[in-house]
Symmetry: D2
Subunit: 464 residues, 4 copies
């Protein structure tokens, strides 16, 4: 039955692709062709949505390879362009224009028509999410799919350019639909109930989203801000502090804006810069509301640090007596406190979060974990850029790696991710633009003295 | 002083173009380059807006020629593409991708950045209007400007695709800003005062606009609809009927939706199909509201008919006794009524609208003017399509040329434009899609028996 | 310390009452006195809110007795009115007007001023709630307090008259603040989570509230409606049915509107008829939306039935062998099934809801419980009106006691309240007005044949 | 025919009054009576609206006399109250309560029911306007009608108390319906077209209204404010200044808020203080927006001055040579300039506004007109309060008569009203409350030195 269904749907695929894509106009008739009826786009959407996840890769493969660029035509027109070089500019431009038209994948025209029907843009965002997933899982890695990915990305980048986005402040009076989605999308510090979310849109808090006309009611990126007297070094004082739930904001107590959570909601918009723009817009918004506000900083998680450290410990154990992670002193301290072998014990205690129950241990581990974490953030790289994705995001935006905070998130989640540490990426507004450019070009990380010192300590301790 | 200013601004042009455009990333670094600061786009906008209308053509010429496509690079990459033909598909695709990147005019990247700042999209729409105007007035007709025009058009087409447009019904409770703009943009049947516009959004009327997230508060196309018991043959009963201003709509009296005015408001969006889509959306909206409503038709002006006829009369007069416009009977009738020479008199009376004061003359002229007008609409062509732009618009949408109405608009405006006649283009919903395709491909006009008969009469009378 | 505080606050009371109330204008100067400054009303509000619950009765006692009506003045003016009887009508009217002014408690003027400041109306609603509570708990039952109660009630009745209320439909797009309050106020069928409340505002459901300009964002009465093919006999199919959460409403499947929950949110508005008006407005609203909808009914809980029955059983047990509750047959059946003594067992099983686990017992008890419950609703009275408050509410509104439903609410809550039964009060629109009048005047209950038959069976069985 | 109609409608009157009013409940049954059906109130409304203006007085007379207070019952209950004096307080209170109930006119209950139906409150406001008009025109001055007037006033005062009013800022984005009404209601400085009204809601201007939940979309009072660097002395710079139409407000240039127009829109709300409260709310609103703003003043017209002066001149002319209006010097100057007899000439020139064409005359008249006008505002009284209604309004609000401005409104309207002068009533916020009380009690006018000096000059000149 499955086989039969699958065949039939493949047959449908051909049919539907042929029908929708064969009628695309030639260069000559491109201005004289009425757009296909909306029903055709709607049918395409419905067909794709009806496909099983397992059937989609084949469909996308077919779409991207059979209905992409006509290479023969490209080659011919490329020849024309070369021939035209010695002719007048008008001829050159026309040859180029034809070539450009021919270089546009045929499916792009289809995708454009789809974008015009109701729900079409949202469909393409979801389609892009599929493509990303298939590429990542290697179920469907072909040059054609990568081309499709690129085409979709450039289309989405245009539609989701900032001029078309609306900034919306979310309050307790915002539609429930919106608040529920925000609660559900909140990945960084999960929302547990009405009071939790009410807190995040209440006094001394701000919550902003970008929405888009083509996806009404759908928040695309969500930014949570706490308004504080100084830059926070602890997340619980932000998300678990309910005392001020009914208080009236005192403008004189607002000196720092702390971005404590930023979440993208559409996997299909990965690679389309929204978070960066949202932060910039929100900064402007907050400056309008609080003219004297001048400290802007994130309070960010450090996902991956604990795992990275456990890997390091593992390696260390295997490679024997060399002593790169702990100083001799620390090593002995820990063995004394735990009564076991330092690395093994650490491995065990870190993976269960048990170490935090021992005050002595916490104290003993602090210097080591701080310098290790600073190194993890500053020194570990992927293609030359910061390995940690949150760090990379803020550094690309032009922020400075500003302060590492001990016991900043002592929730189980925070301990598992980063031994309870969090980091502030600070936005010095006059420098972000230059920082961003430098980081992108030179991969050099802008960091504060605290971070640099910790890194130095790490380098000394580990004899790097 | 003027000379100096002009020089200085030309110098500024170079400077500003070089500064904003030289830093554009290469193919290799295109993903790693942060966008230029917003201030750069804002500066460009401000600079262009500060230019005198007379200085703009030179600026646009420079922009489009010096910062367009790098032809040398294109030629090289075209050679690469040709060379890659025998290699694996991955190599082909990559060569094509590079070529595609290189074929993108450099100014397109700039325009994209501009679209992202506040007010940027509106700026590009206005820029496009300038380009159209310069091309039309031949002040600035160069292949490069035409290329710029094409680039802008394709960009605007994407941003103003229907998925990004919002349909809004305008009522007397809509923002005054919106209603005032609608009044001011109304080109077809001018709005004179508050009561006039109140009437057009009151009972038995609908007014819809498309708006766009990037241009808030700005109606892009406006469609006025009258809800009638039957398809109207007279415009005064629509725009000058105030008796029902406070009445409550009786759903049973709504059998026909008459589109009596459609106006585009943004010259820069010429060529971006909005009116067509607005009509379709409104039809759907009305069907939702009045499930039994099934007659849809325009009541449209016929701009240009009187002028065309006066030209014909002139020709006729010069070319002598042949008698193509009036039948012998008509000719004699008119000479008798007016006591003058038929064509000369007609020319005079038609150009002053005086003929309508004589009931006899009105009666005598009716058959001739009706068949002449039917011919004008149906038979006169521009590049094979209907010469009359309103006719061409509705025919492209798939409407049928349905009924020519005598004394349908007896306002001075209506008489001057088309001797008081108006025409209904009727939308038979099940046929519009097919009609539209046929008209675009074959240029064949779908017309009712009334129209066809009038055309036949004309052909007989004029011995064509 | 407490004593001291209390004294001090009593001193404050005197002070504040004297200050705010002594300056009230006389009859002669009433038009010439500017209102007291708002600060004075705000001070009063703040002072009262700062009082401990235990201090409020004393304050209210003082306010109502020392700042009410000046009895001496009333007596004098009453004498004047009597004297004026033989004089001209103008004199009579003036004497009456003075008397009327004097009969107005002085605190009423204060309360009026309070109503004018921001938050003032809400304060008076809360004050009224205190008064009601104190009267009910006998902590503060004095003729003066009862007068204050009456004055407040008449004031609130005017401000909360229907013309000043706004009907609002609540949807998933309504402000979160509103939906959270509705969730929290829902007393009849508690809301457990987001999905629960989303269901209640989703397809085939309607939720309406009355709001009031003086208490923005505060729902005053909430009515939940289910749109059904027929009048529901079971609540779980309404509040636990999530299958249709994303479905699109099919107008042809909407034949009955079932009011399955109505809650007042402001204890202080007890006695101000809002629920009645809300039902009427909603009926009108629904008729506008679904012209063919013509069945309107509640699906209502029967709070108090189980308790009433347990009392009856207790009495029965004490009073011995007479057999009013069960027929002989039923009596024996139950003894057989349970193996215990019928009334004792029933008492035990009903108070623990255990009886529902035995299918046989459920079957055996059905006829008896149905007729007992019908009697409870129809026959048990308080001051001549239906004892059950829900019944009394709907009967006053003019509804008919229409159908008693077995196993209509098998939640623990439903079993504890009414052995799982629920009742439909049906609104026959053309009769409600007459029914309402008759019930209020004659206390006669309008009931369906089903109910009447059950009552007859009860009367026969119990030999009443 | 008219007679017949009138009879028939009088018959209807009796019928409708009897039907709606006879069924009102007694004291005993007042809590047990369902409200009459809404249809009854709607019928009453419809009937009254259908009456000719000429028929209404008779109807109102009947309503107020036959369905008012039952005097016999009042007398009896008054006797009861007197008898109860020696009994316990509970008996006293009850007797008073019955008497209070009986003193309530029966029509008040009807009016209350009317207020509850849709459009009912608006109906009562319009009814009140009729009553005021009839009382003013003496067509219907009876003690009963005056009583009805008082009853309606107290009811409307409660419903239109500030807690139930919403402050709304009107902008160019406000509903057209609202802006059109505001344009139409603007009585002080008429609005001529879209640009005029756009100016009044544009930059450096504020427009606020009070609206009421029971009359949605209807502005009740409208206040226009200009934001200025200093308190304006000329109205044309406010209503005819369009240069700043598109400018962006510079907060540093906003030092003074000038109330240049305040209009009530509902004649029926005359006597219900709304303007006063609106000014206070707006002051608070503006202080919120511009924390440093501290000058608040009206720029007010002086309706009636020219007429008053013409009357004075007439008197003067008749009474002969005494010379109270002009000093000898002035007298001679004017005779010299005009070449005519001073008073006759002035009378003629002032009534035609011709005097402004002569610069010399304008100069010569300035001192006299200024001191005369100051006297008119300050010295002329009605029942002891300022005769000029605008002055009386602002003085009751606690403003200070601050500055008289020469050539402040040189429009024909301004010249006809007050020889082109206008006056600022300034609101010194810390004093308004005290000023208001003093003025109301002692009728003493708070005025600036400028005003006092002008008054002194007048008194000296006129030898008062």
């Amino acid at each position: 039955r499955l086989f039969f269904y699958s065949t039939s749907s493949v047959k449908n695929m051909d049919e539907i692709l042929t029908r929708t894509l064969d009628s695309l106009p030639s260069y000559e008739t491109r201005e004289k062709s009425p757009p296909p009826p909306e029903s055709s786009s709607l049918e395409f959407i419905q067909f794709y949505r009806s496909l099983d996840k397992s059937q989609r890769p084949a469909f996308l493969a077919k779409l991207s390879s059979d209905f992409g660029v006509d290479h023969k035509c490209v080659a011919e027109l490329a020849a024309n362009v070369m021939d035209s070089q010695k002719r007048d500019i008008s001829t050159v431009l026309q040859a180029e224009d034809r070539l450009r038209y021919c270089l546009t994948p045929r499916y792009k025209v289809l995708l454009n028509h789809i974008s015009r029907v109701e729900g079409g843009v949202k469909f393409l965002v979801d389609l892009k999410a599929d493509v990303i997933e298939f590429l990542a899982s290697k179920t469907n890695d072909s040059p054609h799919i990568r081309d499709l990915n690129g085409t979709l990305k450039s289309m989405l980048s245009e539609w989701f350019s900032v001029g078309l986005l609306s900034l919306e402040r979310v309050t307790w009076k915002s539609p429930c639909e919106l608040l529920q989605k925000i609660s559900q999308y909140e990945a960084v510090h999960p929302v547990r109930n009405w009071t939790d979310i009410k807190r995040r849109v209440g006094p001394y808090r701000r919550c902003y989203v970008f929405t888009h006309g083509a996806m009404p009611g759908e928040p695309l990126v969500v930014l949570h801000v706490a308004l504080k007297e100084e830059i926070s070094d602890n997340i619980q004082t932000i998300v678990r502090e309910f005392s001020s739930l009914d208080s009236v904001e005192d403008i004189n107590r607002v000196n720092a804006a702390v971005f404590y959570s930023i979440s993208s909601t559409q996997p299909g918009l990965q690679g389309v810069e929204l978070g960066n723009y949202l932060i910039k817009r929100v900064v402007r918004e907050l400056q309008g509301e609080f003219p004297h506000l001048n400290q802007f900083s994130s309070l960010s998680p450090i996902p991956g640090f604990t795992n990275w450290l456990l890997g390091l410990l593992n390696e260390q154990r295997k490679e024997g007596p060399s002593n790169r992670i702990l100083s001799d002193m620390e090593f002995m301290d820990i063995e004394e406190i735990t009564g076991g072998r330092a690395y093994e014990t650490m491995q065990k205690l870190l993976s269960t979060n048990e170490w935090v129950s021992s005050e002595r241990l916490v104290k003993a581990l602090e210097p080591a974990l701080m310098r290790l974490c600073a190194w993890y953030l500053y020194g570990e790289k992927h293609r030359g850029y910061a390995l940690n994705p949150v760090a990379n995001f803020h550094l690309q935006n032009g922020a400075t790696m500003w302060r590492l905070n001990w016991q900043a998130d002592t929730s189980p989640r925070g301990l598992s991710a980063s031994c309870g540490m969090m980091v502030n990426y600070r936005y010095f507004l006059q420098d972000t633009s230059a920082n961003s450019g430098r980081y992108l070009r030179t991969k050099e990380i802008e960091a504060s003295d605290q971070i640099r010192n910790l890194v130095l300590q790490f380098q000394k301790a580990s004899k790097l």
